[in-house]
């Protein structure tokens, strides 16, 4: 008997650190492409459930029976859950994009992540209430809650989209600056005639002017972003897109200059 106890103790001693290690090791975060796929699937599910709810509600309004009401409440609960799940996955996709993409300014990103955290907590509480809602009044209460939340949800999401767009231009700008340094080093040592070297140097100067102009546009976009935070919505995102348009055109032109000079 004591032998069996000894063997069990040894086995437990061997396995215990393994169990602990499994508990400590965090699960890998889903990749951006996985999240985008999950979001598309969730949106498809929401659309199907919205259609089912529309039919069930119409039957309830026509038949006015308790059975029809029960079915309408069930369908309303299903579509309510699908809606909040879709929004939650979309928010997670935006947050992962903010964390993984280069060029996004850190302090603005952190402020936005905190806003997202609060929003996610609010939406998760709403989800838990929808799951328990079994009558028409409770369902309608949660539908009203979600309608009130729409502006806040859209606001934070459009802030994120705006910051992601500014960050993408910033990352391309950083890379253009790095590439120009490498290009200048190449021009100064390349086995070419002095005339050709001077010509290439003039081209490099043109890229420098583009770099300065793009930097000014990025600053303008960030100012518009900061101002737009007061009442963020789709118009903020459109404004940022509009401001960044010329910066993108200058980036693509500078890219062509780089290719020409590297020939």
């Amino acid at each position: 008997m004591w032998r069996l106890g000894l063997v069990l103790s040894i086995v437990l001693l061997i396995l215990a650190p393994g169990v602990k290690a499994q508990e400590v090791t965090p699960l890998p975060l889903p990749s951006l492409s996985d999240l985008k796929l999950q979001y598309r699937l969730s949106l498809d599910s929401y659309r199907a459930k919205e259609e089912q709810f529309s039919i069930a509600a119409q039957q309830y309004y026509t038949l006015k029976t308790l059975a029809a009401q029960e079915e309408a409440v069930r369908a309303a609960r299903e579509v309510g859950l699908a809606r909040v799940d879709t929004v939650l996955i979309y928010i997670q996709t935006l947050r992962t994009t903010l964390d993984t993409k280069n060029g996004i300014e850190l302090s603005r990103k952190n402020t936005l992540q905190r806003k997202f955290q609060l929003l996610v907590e609010t939406l998760k509480k709403h989800r838990a209430r929808v799951e328990l809602a079994t009558n028409r009044l409770l369902i309608e209460q949660e539908n009203n809650f979600m309608e009130d939340q729409q502006k806040d949800i859209e606001g934070v999401c459009y802030e994120a989209l705006s910051l992601i767009k500014i960050g993408a231009i910033q990352a391309a700008w950083d890379q253009l600056d790095t590439t120009k340094d490498s290009l200048d080093a190449y021009i100064s040592t390349a086995p070419i005639s002095e005339t050709a070297r001077n010509e290439k140097q003039r081209g490099s100067d043109e890229i420098s002017r583009s770099i300065d102009a793009i930097k000014l546009i990025i600053t303008e976009a960030l100012n518009a972003y900061d101002v737009g935070l007061e009442n963020a919505d789709n118009s903020l995102f459109r404004k940022v897109q509009e401001i960044l348009g010329p910066a993108y055109a200058k980036l693509t032109q500078a890219q062509e200059f780089v290719r020409e000079l590297a020939r």
């Binding site: 985008k36 979001y39 949106l43 929401y46 919205e50 509600a57 309830y60 309004y61 026509t62 006015k64 309408a72 409440v73 579509v79 309510g80 809606r83 879709t86 929004v87 979309y90 996709t93 935006l94 994009t97 280069n102 028409r136 369902i139 309608e140 539908n143 979600m146 309608e147 939340q149 729409q150 999401c157 989209l161 992601i164 767009k165 993408a168 231009i169 990352a171 391309a172 890379q175 253009l176 790095t178 590439t179 490498s182 290009l183 080093a185 190449y186 390349a190 789709n234 940022v240 897109q241 960044l244 348009g245 910066a247 993108y248 980036l251 890219q255 780089v258 290719r259 590297a262 020939r263």
Partner: protein, 142 residues
């Protein structure tokens, strides 16, 4: 028209006479090989075998020679074509002249610019309905 060529006069007769002109009187042609005894066939086979082996050996050697010639010539083709390259254009390709660091920087820049188009948005706000309501039948009919 009369045919004056003496060779053409007796054509049918010639074909009939041909076996008669044969020294064996046609007997040799009618003799079947199956009638020969096995004892007579054995020496003939023994004589023919070396010839077949010789032919096969020659064939194999020929194939080997052809293959080795082809193997020698094959690598020469690209060498000749590559040696022709600089003759056509004295300057090497620009990519080969560029430092690796600059080549990588240009490729990375292209990736970033591709991702930076402000008008492209692959994450549009979800088209969900925030105005979903389950009203009473009375409020709907009103």
């Amino acid at each position: 028209m009369s045919d004056t060529n003496p060779n053409n006069l007796e054509q049918t007769a010639f074909s009939e006479a041909a076996p008669l002109m044969d020294a064996d009187g046609g007997q040799r042609k009618t003799t079947k090989p199956a009638a020969k005894s096995l004892a007579e066939e054995a020496p003939k086979r023994a004589v023919k075998k070396p010839n077949l082996l010789l032919l096969l050996g020659t064939g194999l050697v020929g194939i080997l020679v052809l293959l080795s010639v082809a193997a020698i010539l094959m690598p020469r083709v690209p060498r000749e074509s590559s040696s022709d390259g600089p003759n056509v254009s004295e300057t090497p390709s620009p990519a080969s002249k560029l430092p690796l660091e600059l080549q990588k920087a240009i490729a990375t820049l292209a990736d970033y610019i591709k991702d930076a188009d402000p008008q492209a948005n692959d994450l549009p706000f979800p088209p969900v309905n925030f105005q979903l309501h389950l009203k009473t039948p009375e409020s709907v009919s009103q």
